[in-house]
């Protein structure tokens, strides 16, 4: 078991976060909560890297389609008029391709954030997945209003500023995927390590 202060999570600032100039703001929110950045890099992912990052199994892809179907039902939009079909198995792969296109459209900033309950706390700071529903005071709640209602209509994926691992297991997997066997920086920081 690592020391509780050494729990790590994976964060990736997405194209809309970089384009809106929110890189500093996002780092600041983690720093001010006494979390520590132990790895950070801006990079331009290749189409292939992003394609490899997202699951390729049929169930996962169809679920993407299911979400669109549900959004259209919720808002009373005409799915067939916009997509030419109501079949989530056909819509799913299209959404996945928009996802890959979006995530490789600008540089991303990847980082490893360390601290007490890092996974849970970073998710809280980030806010709910759908920005229009995210609470004020969270990154998504303060800086975006995107919703599936408009994203699906505009035939693009939801832009929600950043990604943060959902569970400690996912964090381990994502850190390994994006940073490989790179070693993380260890340093003491005033206020966290000298209490």
């Amino acid at each position: 078991m690592p020391h509780p202060k050494e729990e790590k999570t994976y964060v990736m600032i997405k194209p809309d976060g970089v384009m809106k100039g929110l890189v500093g703001e996002i780092i600041k929110r983690f720093e001010q909560r006494d979390l520590k950045i132990v790895a950070l890099e801006m990079f331009q992912p290749t189409h292939e890297q992003i394609d490899g990052h997202y699951p390729k199994n049929e169930a996962w892809i169809t679920r993407l389609g299911d979400k669109t179907v549900a959004t259209y039902e919720q808002y009373g939009f005409d799915l067939v008029a916009d997509y030419g079909t109501a079949d989530p198995a056909i819509i799913g792969p299209r959404i996945r391709s928009w996802l890959v296109e979006y995530m490789s459209s600008a540089p991303l900033v990847k980082m490893v954030v360390q601290g007490v309950h890092a996974v849970e706390v970073v998710r809280k700071i980030t806010g709910e997945t759908v920005p229009s529903r995210a609470a004020i005071g969270t990154i998504r709640g303060d800086f975006s209003i995107d919703s599936p209602a408009v994203a699906n209509k505009e035939k693009r994926v939801l832009a929600n500023i950043l990604h943060a691992s959902e569970t400690p297991e996912e964090a381990l997997h994502e850190i390994a995927h994006w940073f490989g066997d790179k070693e993380f920086y260890q340093y003491k920081r005033f206020g966290i390590d000298q209490l």
Binding site: G21, V23, G24, I27, K28, I37, A39, Q44, Y187
Partner: protein, 158 residues
């Protein structure tokens, strides 16, 4: 063309900024000016690269203190691009002697010391080229269009 006029500057967010949780604040100050970050990474400097970077003061009696400071924690290095950025960034950062820096500049707002002065910024276009090569490989520098470009640069700069 903007591309032809674009300059680049190298920034190092120093250990005192890391210690004082000011990394995000410093990055924000450049972003809100409209500048484009085209490279960024956290790295741990070693004595050799610090000596190379500060070659002009390497033989000064105070240099060992600067070297020890610069390798005491990781730092964040960045390349920022835009029209006239070298001069613009020097103004945002403030003078080396932080105790003389005006309020509103990074050093004026956050620092007192000459050594612990939060951030390094290239002092000329020529120095920026050398410094960028010192810390970044060409493939680590990104090429992308930021939406705000056409609003940022009016006819006087384009």
């Amino acid at each position: 063309m903007i591309q032809e006029k674009e300059e680049r500057s190298l920034l190092i967010i120093k250990p005192d900024a890391i210690q004082r949780s000011l990394v995000g604040e410093i990055v924000t100050r450049f972003e809100r000016k409209g500048l484009k970050i085209i490279a960024m990474k956290m790295i741990k400097l070693d004595a050799a690269i610090v000596e190379e970077h500060y070659a002009h003061i390497k033989d000064k009696p105070f240099f060992p203190s600067i070297r020890n400071f610069m390798i005491s924690t990781p730092v964040v290095v960045m390349v920022v691009s835009g029209v006239k950025v070298v001069d613009a960034i020097r103004i945002i950062v403030g003078p080396t002697k932080s105790f003389e820096a005006l309020g509103g500049t990074i050093r004026g707002d956050y620092a007192l010391s000459m050594q612990s002065n939060i951030v390094h910024a290239s002092d000329s276009r020529e120095a920026a080229v050398d410094e960028i090569n010192r810390f970044f490989k060409p493939e680590e520098i990104m090429d992308y269009e930021k939406i705000s470009t056409m609003f940022l640069y009016s006819d006087d700069l384009m």
